[in-house]
Amino acid sequence: MTSAMMPSTYLAEGSSPGAWLLTTDHKRVAWLYLVSLTAFFFLGGAMAVLMRVELATPAGDLVADDIYNRLFSLHGIIMVWFFLVPSIPATLGNFLLPLMIGARDLAFPRLNLASWYVFIFGSLFALFSVVAGGVDTGWTFYTPLSTLYANGFVSTAALGVFIVGFSTIMTGINFIVTVHTLRAPGLTWFRLPIFVWTLYATSLVMVLATPVLAASLILIVLERVFGIGIFNPDLGGDPLLFQHLFWFYSHPAVYIMILPGMGVVSEVLPCFSRRPLFGYKAVALSSMAIAVFGFLVWGHHMFVSGQSAYGSVIFSFLSFCVAIPSAIKVFNWSLTLRKGEISFETSMLYALFFLGLFTFGGLAGLFLAALAVDVHLHDTYFVIAHFHYIMVGGMVTAYMAGLHFWWPKLTGRMYSETAGRIAATVTFVGFNLTFFPQYMLGFDGMPRRYHTYPPEFQFWHVLSSAGAVVLAIGYLMPLFYLGSSLFRGARAPDNPWNATGLEWQTSSPPPPHNFETIPVVTRPAYAYDMKGLEHERFSPHRPAPP
């Protein structure tokens, strides 16, 4: 297909609300998710900014303690379940998975749309909890605080998270089946882009871990509403049981959040280095290793909880083991750059920042896996800094990299590279300014979830609060230049970055059913060093192979 006789794109398929809200096109469902998740991201982010402003002074002078507790609880609940868990899979994954494997849609298009409605339905419960009076249990819902003592709208929030779990499971099943049954001819498992591998690993974790969260949330709601006592020591229950169940989900959930980010970076780095991904198989298999090992390390959240000391030793050992596949990935990404021809487009900048932030976040994880050190650092700002380096520095940065990388494909428009590079840099600076001081706070012994704090911690808190403002600006900027690109951006060519991958072989934006004819794959992924591509680099409108 040449641009002259371009078929209608998926965006031209109708613009009425019905055409969007009743669509089963995975590309449009991805947009539904993108818009709703962006709203949640800024809602959760606004809460974080409020918290940081409050923490600029040791006293609790901006908001009362109950409000502060609600802020961090809702920040966690919203960011984890209504942004991070669905973020890359439901938006970029939804859009790209069928394109990358040469399929016309996901295996179950209607299920895909249904999962968005379930997500929205669940999120209404959570929003109701926010409006009605908030939740003050922390995102972890620890019992017996959440079951017997908390005075917020815990049940509705837990129900919201429970319902969103269904949407997660539906997406997971859809992705797994799609990868198994809808790969294009010639697209063997070891020719799959790493992004597909990570989505597959993520989906496995989603399908197998989310039900356990569902079980623990059901038990919480039953305990609050019906008064049964599974976690209540007065009725023979055990509060630690909840922590076991909760972390059995929530630790793998960390990998639900980070794995797709690793996938995005594995696409972006080779493209802008013009090199194949170094150690493709190691990176692919380490994703699966992370998904499997991720199920065995939940107890490292409970080293000081009173669980058996020897249990803790085993969990510590396994936690060090799960660090290895991540380390392997970092080494492979770094060496991908070697002898490349590196250019610094916005998404490459984000990917490089990801590499740095993920490395420093991951290294901090070693401190927390080492038992004796974790005793000191557990439940302090060190932990906050660690997982924000992974979740925000890693995951959100990768999300931004992916959004910029595939924006031309999503919209058919180019955005301003200058604005993009500035935003990436502002984000990077703001992020480090916000969260690096929190490592220091944690080592100095500042506990997390504190509304007020001793004055000697103020220096680091002020730095962190200042950083939060810079970070917020960095995240707001794309709203403007990406938004304006929708109307004023130059038309995007089909393959603006000269990337490999089937998604670039169709037009930008893709036609309603992705491919005129299903492509046949004859090459491994990331064949940036192969002869044919040198030629292709200058002919972006390459027809799909017959």
Binding site: I169, N174, I176, V207, V212, I218, G227, I228, I230
Partner: protein
């Protein structure tokens, strides 16, 4: 796009494979849900074995056994439906499906009677109902009944889901193409068997421990 329901599949066989595979993945997910609850029960049982054993004697073994038989029979009729559908013998397939769902309803009715009996005896620690229990260690007996109601209600909800799935299957039956009828029977059948198997585990764990 001959013969396939959705444009994403190029052949009905692939579509069939995808459906069955999806159902297996879903069953795996459900197994994790019940697995978690079973694990909770297991830990509690280790801690409070004697209390649980004496509490379980207050459950109605005849009703529980009867229900187990009902569900196993329903699995059999489901398997019949599967077989008939594959041979395109539509009329017996519909009758088997109807029998399966009636057995499911029968299970729920008996379960309801059993709940009623337990509530009358004051064994339901729910909704602020008084808990009257004569045996030793009433605190942990109460815990047992909490778990009992949680687990059986969860299972009953899944059974309701199965019955609704069969109802939906039958509602769309007249208009469906043969291939789609078969796919759906296979998928719903898989789910039905899973729900039965969960009960087959639940029955000995709740009713027969240390009896």
């Amino acid at each position: 796009m001959s013969g396939t329901e959705s444009i994403v599949f190029d052949s009905p066989r692939r579509e069939w494979r995808a459906d069955t595979f999806a159902m297996w993945v879903f069953v795996g997910s459900e197994a994790m849900l019940f697995g978690a609850i079973f694990l909770v029960f297991l830990f509690a049982h280790i801690d409070f074995g004697p209390a649980f054993a004496s509490a379980s004697k207050h459950l109605s073994l005849p009703l529980g056994t009867f229900n187990t038989a009902v569900l196993i029979t329903s699995s059999f009729t489901m398997a019949l439906a599967h077989m008939f559908a594959l041979h395109k013998r539509w009329r017996p397939a519909v009758w088997s499906l109807l029998a399966t769902s009636s057995l499911g309803v029968c299970f729920l009715v008996v379960k309801g009677i059993e709940y009623g009996k337990e509530i009358d005896e004051g064994l339901a620690p729910l909704l602020g109902l008084p808990f009257r229990y004569a045996g030793p260690d009433p605190v942990h007996a109460e815990f047992f009944f909490s778990l009992y109601f949680t687990m059986t209600c969860l299972h009953a909800l899944h059974l309701v889901g199965g019955i609704l799935a069969i109802a939906g299957l039958l509602a769309f039956w007249p208009k469906a193409r043969p291939g789609n009828r078969q796919r759906r029977v296979v998928a719903v059948g898989l789910y039905w068997h899973f729900v039965d198997i969960v009960w087959v585990f639940m029955f000995p764990v709740l009713y027969l421990i240390n009896r």
